[in-house]
Symmetry: C2
Subunit: 448 residues, 2 copies
């Protein structure tokens, strides 16, 4: 059986991570994306990969690499080299693009999401050297943090480079009580901006008795979209929802009960929406589509008083979708819903779309991933049939490549990692277990 020096791989992971995190690859700002892609490509080339940069018509390149292993069984890896913006910058304790180690943690923007996983996978593959048990294909995109607007097209064009027997997506880790987490699906998303404009300019609020207000109109629109229990009121929104299977429900029931406490603690939640507790919290996170207001802007928002009647008002919404709700269909339903209520003048701009995607728990790849995870962690896996978040690549791979894809614990994710927030970090102690799991999985997959 192939083995690696885990401590040495751990050291190399930290070294690679330090180098990766020094690239301020903020996709929302279009910053140094091609340069970061070049750097990542060079790392793969140095590690024995045949590499290419893949392009769509727009957007940054994706890095592709392939390294032949001892068997033809092919594992596709997915990651992204882009990161979230750093704002609010003044809440960081050290500069976000100067990785700093304090109290057993490595702090940097992108450390947890998801450069540690790139470093960890690469260091492991390097350490396996000529004993790599399976063939690895790897695609690392540069626009995940802006909802991958061009990546579906890129995957469609280059599907032949991505065929594989199984795919490990990004993310994953081990729960606080030591249970490895494995996710088999992601929600879809439709993100839109609603714009209301009723006047040529802001009016004095004294005229509010007769002059129509964009702010009130936006409130009236939003109030028709969701009830206080969180149920989406868009006409026909639930028609396409596929009922979860018994197996999916059982998996959710068996997830750690501490997920609820973690969520309460992370955001200081006093009471969940609609008063739900226990398994119902986890069921909604897995199976409930949602309508979220990401932001509202109208009129004045400064100190004191300004008695203005706003000419314009905007809301940013995202709808999380479950199988078989599609983002295009959701957009049509929203438009029809507004038109039916006299809101035809409200402009809808689609900002991001992604389909939900799920991998069948019956796929033999899934069983092997789970079984190795439970052997390595010596603990029962928690299975997430659908996670609360979205990952556009999952549906693109399902549509154009047809490879079973999932999120496995070959990563260091933990609930306090502050992904997308100031002081993002990983815990160094989470690296070794992830390496051990990744090695064991590669060995197991090489046995086929």
């Amino acid at each position: 059986m192939e083995t690696v020096d885990v401590e040495a791989v751990e050291r190399e992971t930290v070294e690679l991570l330090d180098g990766l995190c020094r690239w301020p690859s903020v996709s929302a700002e279009g910053a140094v994306l091609t340069e970061t892609a070049d750097f990542v490509q060079s790392l793969l080339t140095q590690s024995g990969f045949e590499t290419r940069l893949l392009w769509a018509d727009a957007g940054p390149p994706a890095v592709w690499g392939e390294r032949r292993g001892e068997s033809d069984w092919t594992l596709l890896l997915y990651n992204h080299y882009d990161v979230q913006p750093v704002d609010p910058i003044d809440l960081w304790d050290s500069p976000p693009f100067e990785p700093a180690i304090r109290e057993g943690k490595l702090f940097a923007r992108g450390a947890a999401d998801n450069k540690a996983q790139i470093a960890l996978r690469l260091a492991t593959i390097r350490a396996l050297g000529d004993s790599l048990p399976v063939t690895i294909r790897w695609i690392i995109e540069g626009e995940e943090e802006v909802a991958s607007p061009n990546f579906d097209e890129l995957i469609r064009r280059h599907a032949d480079l991505l065929h594989a027997d199984g795919c490990l997506l990004e993310g994953g880790g081990v729960s606080p009580e030591g249970r490895p987490t494995i996710a088999l699906g992601v929600k879809g998303v439709l993100a839109v901006r609603l714009d209301v404009e009723l006047l040529s300019g802001d009016a004095h609020s004294g005229t509010a008795a007769v002059v129509p207000s964009a702010a009130w109109r936006l409130v009236e629109v939003l109030a028709t979209l969701r009830d206080r229990a969180g149920r989406v009121l868009v006409d026909g929104f639930y028609d396409a929802v596929r009922e979860p299977t018994e197996e999916q429900r059982r998996a959710v029931a068996e997830q750690p009960e501490t997920d609820e406490d973690d969520l309460r603690a992370a955001f200081g939640v006093v009471e969940f929406l609609d008063g739900v507790t226990g398994v119902e919290v986890r069921e909604r996170l897995a199976f409930a589509p949602t309508a979220n207001i990401a932001g509202i802007r109208a009129g004045y928002g400064g100190p004191g008083v300004k008695t203005v009647l706003p000419a314009r008002a905007s809301a940013w919404l995202d709808f999380r979708l479950v199988p078989d709700q599609g983002p295009d269909e959701a957009l049509e339903l929203l438009r029809a819903h507004l038109d039916r209520r006299g809101f035809s003048d409200v402009e809808i701009t689609a900002l991001a779309k992604a389909d939900a995607a799920t991998t069948s728990p019956d796929d033999p790849f899934v069983a092997r991933v789970i079984s190795v995870a439970e052997q390595v962690a010596k603990n029962k896996a928690s299975i997430y049939p659908i996670i609360a978040g979205s990952l556009p690549v999952a549906a693109s791979l399902e549509r154009h490549v047809g490879v079973p894809a999932l999120i496995a614990p070959d990563n260091t994710y933990y609930p306090g990692c502050a992904a997308h927030a100031p002081n993002e970090h990983i815990r160094l102690k989470d690296i070794a277990p992830a390496i051990r799991y990744f090695v064991a999985l590669l060995v197991e997959l090489g046995r086929s």
Copy 2:
């Protein structure tokens, strides 16, 4: 009969106005208020006034002055030396505090609101010299544009300096068709900020299935406050409303029909609220209390997508009140309305309060003001029993001094003057008629 050289007074008005507008007396920013008060005081002193600076416990000083005239009949004048902020500064065609004359207009922040009236009144009084027909008392405050938070207290303290037989407030002018406008009342106002905070920090929007959203909660709150026709839904809001009198209704019916067109043109209104037209537009502006959203802020409001679930959300509201609605009572009604609907966690901060105030059309001072206006303009006056805006000083004078106060056409206001907006200005051609009116009124009042 006393007369003045109107052209000379016009020239002096422009000169005084130029000097006044060079002071950037933005009360919202606390800028050079005491310095501007000193300057205004010196102008009054040079013009034969006995002067004082009056203070409350907080806030900038008000300038007070008195000049004895040929009779003991005393006219109180009210103005303010503060101005609105200049933002958005890039929309100004010339620097806001460097008065510029172009195409018969004088452009500067504060020119229309309301330094031209200070200049015009002062130049006229100077020109009358020893022939001033009545005794003038004048109070010029420094926080009108921030809703006069300390001015009621200041008036209460110094009421003995303000007793008079009649008071001319700020504003007024002649309508586009040459009808002098006279306003006998103002609406009250309650301005509040509503704050909702449900989480310790923003959450990822994937959690929206169970994590409560401040943005949605704010929308739910706002949706209970007003219907689509503009009617305020706060429980009991209309209970204190005094029905307008027949005389008030008749005055509104006789206002220029072009008011509606002016309002449409000023803000590009396609359809008024609730589809109203004609006299109903003017009736609502005069008699309808309102709930206005001055601003909303929640979550993200930038380019592209950020799938965040906001921890906090705020709305800025102002309610315009009519007799006998009081701002304190309105605040209590709002709190009770929210509590009754389960929104006890929504914080209400009162930002500004002012009472409505009306002067009786039966007061003999009113009849004289109207009669002189119609003689000078050779046109029927339009009477506004209550204007759509608020002027806190009106209720303070009613409460502490008991002087009949109104807005007369001794001013240059016209609908296109861009008060509170970029490129604020007055038309130079409106100065002479206002001087003629002011002189004629002083002469008439001296006859008593």
